[in-house]
Assembly symmetry: C2
Homo-oligomer: 332 residues x 2
Amino acid sequence: MATIKDVAKVAGVSVATVSRVLNSNGYVNVDTKKRVDQAIEQLNYRPNDVARALFKGRSKMIALFVPDIMNPFFPELARAVEDITNKNDYTFVLCNTDDNLEKVLTYMDALQQKSVDGIIIVSSTITAESLKRINVPVIALDRIFSSELSTVTVDNYQGARKATEYLIGLGCQRIAHISGPINASNAKNRLQGYLDIVSDEDWFLPSYVASGSFNLQKAKDVATELLMNHPELDGIFAANDVMGIGAMKAAESLGIHVPNDLSVIAFDGITMGEMATPSLTTMEQPIYDMGARAAEMLIEQINDQKLSRKNEAFSVQLVERQSTKRKRDMNE
Amino acid sequence: MATIKDVAKVAGVSVATVSRVLNSNGYVNVDTKKRVDQAIEQLNYRPNDVARALFKGRSKMIALFVPDIMNPFFPELARAVEDITNKNDYTFVLCNTDDNLEKVLTYMDALQQKSVDGIIIVSSTITAESLKRINVPVIALDRIFSSELSTVTVDNYQGARKATEYLIGLGCQRIAHISGPINASNAKNRLQGYLDIVSDEDWFLPSYVASGSFNLQKAKDVATELLMNHPELDGIFAANDVMGIGAMKAAESLGIHVPNDLSVIAFDGITMGEMATPSLTTMEQPIYDMGARAAEMLIEQINDQKLSRKNEAFSVQLVERQSTKRKRDMNE
């Protein structure tokens, strides 16, 4: 394979001159440029990405940080980001951070070494301070952790209000919320939406909150405790679908029928919720669209680093399935 | 940040000499080496990965090709590969190929340009021929598509025999198989295991086979057709868990009770099967261990490209859940 040195030799110029021609920067005499172009063609020289990264400090690589690709919310997001990066000739790097700040910093250093072009981050723990370690555009996806970044999210607060109102509309009067980790902006906003509705003066319902950490087993455990301590509960709003499934498993193990005795609504719209029996009513996020939009915004920022900060929030949509039902005493 | 040029200037040597010192190759005078080392220290110079890749043709990057990360079998595999690559200071690149040969070739060219160090491939369609485009170690994971590569799989044939025998042991006499795409080696071996058991002279049972393409909706459709055309069916062995869930959905929609009227067993051991109601009996693969082993083997091969080819097959394990049940007439 021909190297940049071979091109320089054939063209009778220096390597630096070939590099200037390749990167279209700096002055090059028209005749010289012609000689270099001819040498490139003659030798069938293709500068590889590694060389290009060294010259330009750009690698045609984009990274996505997620807590854990095994959490079923993230594969669709990752697929969307990869589809867009691939379409734009970027290579897609995936990093599982376990939302552990030390791991995040190690990834950042490694990616900096590789001249990564930009990063999309889903995180609750990264500090604005730690972002200073890396000198490339960053988009915050799904969760907001720094006011300085462009973000792609959904309207978590409105979605949570709608979910809670929906249960009230079905006749539920004793509604519990299983929340996500409270340092995550999305979990915090969903909790607030729930609280604002149940405590609204129109209804003034009691509130019941337990943290399920966005985790199925944890949600099953806290839902079991809630349902045992509060047999009066007739509705649960879980802050994500895997916790909604955990809540249904808890009800099943206690002999509480969903949806006859208890309505369960969740948040996300992952396939697993559709597959569950009963299938899970949920506030559906446009997961694929969110990932794709974040990747597009990142590429725009890579191409024009002077672009101003953007915050885009998609709306969520109620998808009614089998886990919720109008209470019988409402119909009578 | 200091560059290799700065080091050369301070040490009073050429860039090529600094490069020889950095890469410990070629002759360098002891005094010269000392001067270079001092210059490196004085300038706090750190050759970045991009420069290293250019010199050594190695990038500290490993790629994983999967058909689609949204298929719930792959996130756990990807997580395992990423854990091992990360532990060994490699960056993890994920490519969704849709099992489309043209996409695969485009990825290969892009990764070659980036001097990727090795690739782990899950594929049914890649030809040995197309692998010649890329000059790095490759491990075939989950499916075997070239006899020239090292592989990490499970014993699909034995696993399928055991699944089918298990249904017979429960008293099932009319057992259907929902197969994967027949160009995938794992699907082919699972089909063969099923066929060899039902046609065994000990039982000589009829066989019923329909292809569900490892896809939930497709499996639901073909299972609906099978169950309508053959009301005598009392057992289904699906070649993967998502198709097992599809078969259960088909039975549910036809008013056929699982497991009272129909036992369903599948293959994989993904979380979604555990979450389904009824929870899905399955032949569980050690998915995480497979991914981790493939990554370890790849790194061994990157470090010693003379290593001989290895084929490792994990065994699978029966996990009994709620979707299978001894037939009542067997107990009476």
